[in-house]
Amino acid sequence: MKDIWIKLATIDRRIIYLLVFLVVALPMIFRMIMPIRVSNEVKMAFSEIDNLKPGSIVMISIDYDAASEPELQPMLIAILRHCFSKDIKVILLGQWALGLPLGEMALNQVAKEYNKKYGEDYVNLGYRPGYTALMVGIGKEIRDFFPTDYKGIPIDSFPFMRKVRNYQQIDILVGLEAGATGDAWVQFAGARFNQKIILGTTGVVAPDMFPYLQAKQIVGLIGGLQGAAEYETLVKKAGSAILGMPAQSFVHLLIIIFIIIGNIGYFILRRRK
């Protein structure tokens, strides 16, 4: 009996790696789908955007890069679909330089689905270094930081942008966050200028945002791949998050089983000693 546990405890890492790979790949190959339960935080975020009237303006900040793309890109796509289907205008910008093209890719894809035109229904402002200064500065005048869009076209040549001067004209700010930029949006745009904020974050960041949610400093929180899948469920269009959740489920189960086996072995071996 003891030998089995010793053998189990000294199993090669690579066998574990292989198991993980299989548990991720198989549910995807067999195209499993599981129903998604929608949590309260995501429902709050959804209904904030849902209650906006046509013509309202949502600003989305791409504060992530390829390292968290699988979690945040489906959120971006689902939110864009939601906005465009309700004729809400979108202003996109980004605080993480290496992630900005991801925003452009999503805009390109979703705008086509809804027949939306650049400059009339959405613009992409691009990136500027030094995000804290920008967040405060936009409170006064957005043109001080973004005289032009990411292609160098003056933003005043887009009809709906002519009326946007600062946070006052932005109905909701959606921050898609993989790091500390989310805190900065809350502490600068939220606290100083009373900007209504929704945060969509990676799983790593999400738990740290709950204090803001309870203090009503943010009005909605979309956390991790599950959060993205919930938003996809609410906008009734399945994307990569819903497709990924079964694989996610099984790996969670695998890891929990690993922890249990590891601990049983640990206690048995310790008792023997």
Partner: protein, 232 residues
């Protein structure tokens, strides 16, 4: 003298100004703040270039000493990126046109490399879960239990597992109807509660501490007590 005193004076001046303008909207303070913020944004761009020099220099000297493929490849890919970037800029007016060669590099080199580096961690976590995460103390036990509940509550499979448990419970206690029990997504409910109450409370407590620490640091920097950034 000027080498250490001048930076300290500038830090004090800008730091204090930014605090004062927060409270005084009257001219010239409000305007000055906005102007400084724009400058900050411009200058921050240049800081990015700082690391570039040491990177290039390090690998050039390494190459001079002896040929090695790693350094060569690094420098090659750096200059290739620059060339493609400026070429795309001339050709498409912006390097960020999705069909430009610069974005080609982004799609097929940056995304796979960056994303895969972090995807490695999934394997490391699984292996550590099996070989190292142990309930050896009361604290660690609590942590692992909370983690397990959250991990089950945040994925769809949690509700399937609960249905299984509900089936067993209603088997043992026939008085409890299975249907009703199965409908309650217990793992999800507990996990939501954990996130909103105990973890929320502890995070708030921890962050109040770190916020105070951060403010202390900022005050030290503004007043010139903390000056490691100068000696660096």
């Amino acid at each position: 003298m000027i080498r250490t005193q001048l930076p300290l004076i500038i830090t004090f001046f800008t730091g204090m100004l930014l605090i004062i303008t927060f409270f005084i909207p009257h001219k010239p303070f409000g305007d000055l703040e906005q102007r400084f913020l724009i400058w900050y944004s411009i200058i921050s761009g240049f800081t990015v270039l700082l690391g570039l020099d040491s990177l290039v220099r390090y690998h050039l000297t390494k190459l001079k000493r002896e040929f090695n493929i790693h350094s060569l490849l690094l420098l090659f890919s750096l200059f290739l990126t620059l060339i493609l970037g400026f070429y795309s800029w001339f050709r498409f007016k912006t390097p960020f046109a999705l069909n430009s060669p610069f974005m080609y590099l982004y799609t097929y080199v940056i995304i796979p490399l960056q994303a895969t580096m972090f995807a490695l961690l999934a394997f490391f976590i699984a292996s550590a879960a099996y070989r190292a995460f142990r309930a050896r103390t009361f604290e660690a036990t609590l942590l692992l239990i909370a983690a397990t509940i959250v991990m089950l509550g945040r994925v769809p499979i949690g509700s399937y597992i609960w249905k299984g448990i509900a089936y067993i419970i209603s088997g043992i206690f026939p008085k409890i109807p299975y249907e009703e029990l199965a409908k309650k997504e217990v793992f999800a409910l507990i996990s939501d509660w954990i996130m909103n109450i105990p973890q929320n409370a502890a995070k708030r407590g921890i962050f109040i501490g770190t916020a105070l620490g951060g403010i202390a640091m900022s005050i030290r920097i503004i007043l010139g007590i903390e000056r490691t950034y100068i000696t660096k």
